[in-house]
Point group: C2
Chain length 328, copies 2
């Protein structure tokens, strides 16, 4: 027994929060200590403000258990839950702040895998014969306009029915996903299919929750991109098809105007069909991605954390290694 | 698409919370709507205040998934998580407020089952030959001192090694648990074993969390009771052994001074061994339980909810069917 710890007897709604926080403060990781201080505070305030009942608590325990139990290697229901509550987008915006001239981020969603194969420029990433062929042509630059070569670009999309490869119980080789690398000019291109709108998996607890909240489970047509290169802030983003019926009501809050694109046709641009060796009727998605350097992201993250500290009036909080930690 | 719903495009850390709340406000259950308004608010504030990082978010998703995946019919890791964060005790204190002259409640813990058999007074509930025999003698009364007959009393405890029956993979018949009913005088008695301190299951994610928080997983020796009778507020409580090494540091914050008892010996009281037909050396636990009527609990719950509403300055909140709901 640590004599410096308070007695945890006779706790009431009025003193339990401070006591639990005091007990957790033995933790020797100052960041974890701060996270648990805020977490306990918010969870307790939630219960106190709502006068949470025992049966509501039991229903929450049951719900969270079901969310965990439906998870598998290829289904991540807790990410879905975070997505539909807007937490995923919020965390991305906090941790990956973007200067005005860079590409905005969005939710990663639960369907990124580490199985995608490295494919050469011009490869076809989708084997779905029912998909409408689409050429994807992109560039990767820094905020000063310089091309960034050799960026690892993870790309993934559903098939024409709106399902990712891992959603099929009998999926074999990775399909609808690949890792592409930008060339010396920061360029890349590959063949894919036109994305379609689809519902997030809604046969589980998160789907039932959306139903109770009178919300639809649809995501507008989109195509996922993830950019990684040492020295640059990890960019998780997606391009959304303009005019999609769910463009303004994405179930996971991921759409940003700067990421909404027109899907054209290769024949719109002279010489493109020949250059990329595709049929002129092939649909076309192009985008110039702009990555933020680690240093730029760090400075911006620090600035925003400082603003948040001031907004909260945490006069004794500091930022250590980029993480907010209150000074004791 | 509901035209009354806001567009969910271009969400930022500054506008996402109000937007998610607006989207959820289509829910036609006003209580659920309020719970999700407060939940989203707190989760988002938590992320904003701590500047939660993507890797911390990923670690949280992984942790919650593991908590769900270790759950089985007989292991409830989410209840453990709620217990060690003090939420379980808090919810009990909110939903089951007790007037001064009644028996206090405490955490139910993850080991109550619905398998316990109805046993007659004087039955032995534990088959553990290594347990130290203990006679339990109790009364159940209302707050005016009148005996309450025919109360369903669920009782459960560990064996002498500190394990509940369901923690053994090969457990057969229920052991260390029973349902007893109070007689016409509100009395009941049965034979059990002296409770021992034990660690909550700490081989899973919650155990690892406690370790990182530098907390021990022990609960002081205790014996669980649950009282049910129509017209009376459900009482979930436990008695704790005075002088236990973990009396003031219960890992799940359940101990209250009014529930700490001396465990005596039957021979301490003249005639007791004969009356209850037990050996005079048998240990003895006695307690006079006082139940609160549904009506008393309702009035007190309402009063405390009203106080909480005032404290929060929710001037337009109301209480409908005992539940806090903001008036629109």
């Amino acid at each position: 027994m640590d004599p410096s710890m308070p007695s945890v007897k006779d706790l009431t709604a009025d003193n339990i929060t401070a006591t639990v926080i005091a007990i957790n403060s033995n933790c020797n990781d100052p960041r974890m200590k701060y996270l648990f201080e805020r977490l306990v505070s918010h969870i307790h305030d939630f219960a106190r403000e709502t006068r949470l009942t025992t049966s509501e608590w039991q229903a929450s325990i049951k719900f969270l258990t079901e969310v965990g139990q439906i998870c598998t290697d290829v289904r991540q229901e807790f990410i879905l839950l975070s997505d539909v509550l807007g937490l995923s987008l919020l965390v991305d915006s906090i941790d990956h702040p973007k200067p005005e001239n860079s590409t905005e981020g969005t939710v990663i969603g639960p369907f990124h895998t580490h199985e995608a194969k490295d494919l050469a420029h011009g490869s076809a990433i989708s084997a779905d014969p029912a998909g409408e062929p689409m050429l994807v042509v992109g560039t990767v630059k820094d905020t000063k306009g310089n091309p960034i070569p050799d960026v690892k670009i993870d790309v993934w999309e559903t098939d024409s029915k709106g399902f990712y490869d891992v959603q099929y119980s009998d999926h074999g080789e990775p399909d609808g996903r690949a890792v592409i690398r930008s060339d010396q000019n920061g360029d890349f291109f590959f063949n894919a299919i036109v994305p379609v709108p689809y519902p997030i998996p809604h046969d589980g607890p998160v789907g039932k929750l959306l139903q109770k909240l009178h919300r639809h489970p649809y995501r507008p047509s989109h195509f996922h991109f993830m950019f990684e290169k040492p020295g640059y802030d990890h960019l998780i983003t997606a391009l959304y098809r303009r005019g999609d019926p769910y463009e303004a009501s994405d179930a996971v809050f991921g759409v940003k105007n700067s990421l909404v694109v027109d899907i054209g046709t290769v024949s719109d641009v002279d010489g493109l069909a020949k250059k990329y060796k595709v049929d002129p009727s092939t649909r076309l998605m192009t985008y110039d991605f702009v990555l933020v350097s680690d240093e730029e992201a760090k400075v911006l993250r620090h600035k925003k954390a400082q603003e948040a500290i001031e907004k909260q009036g945490l006069t004794n909080a500091g930022i250590v290694d980029g993480l907010v930690i209150p000074q004791q």
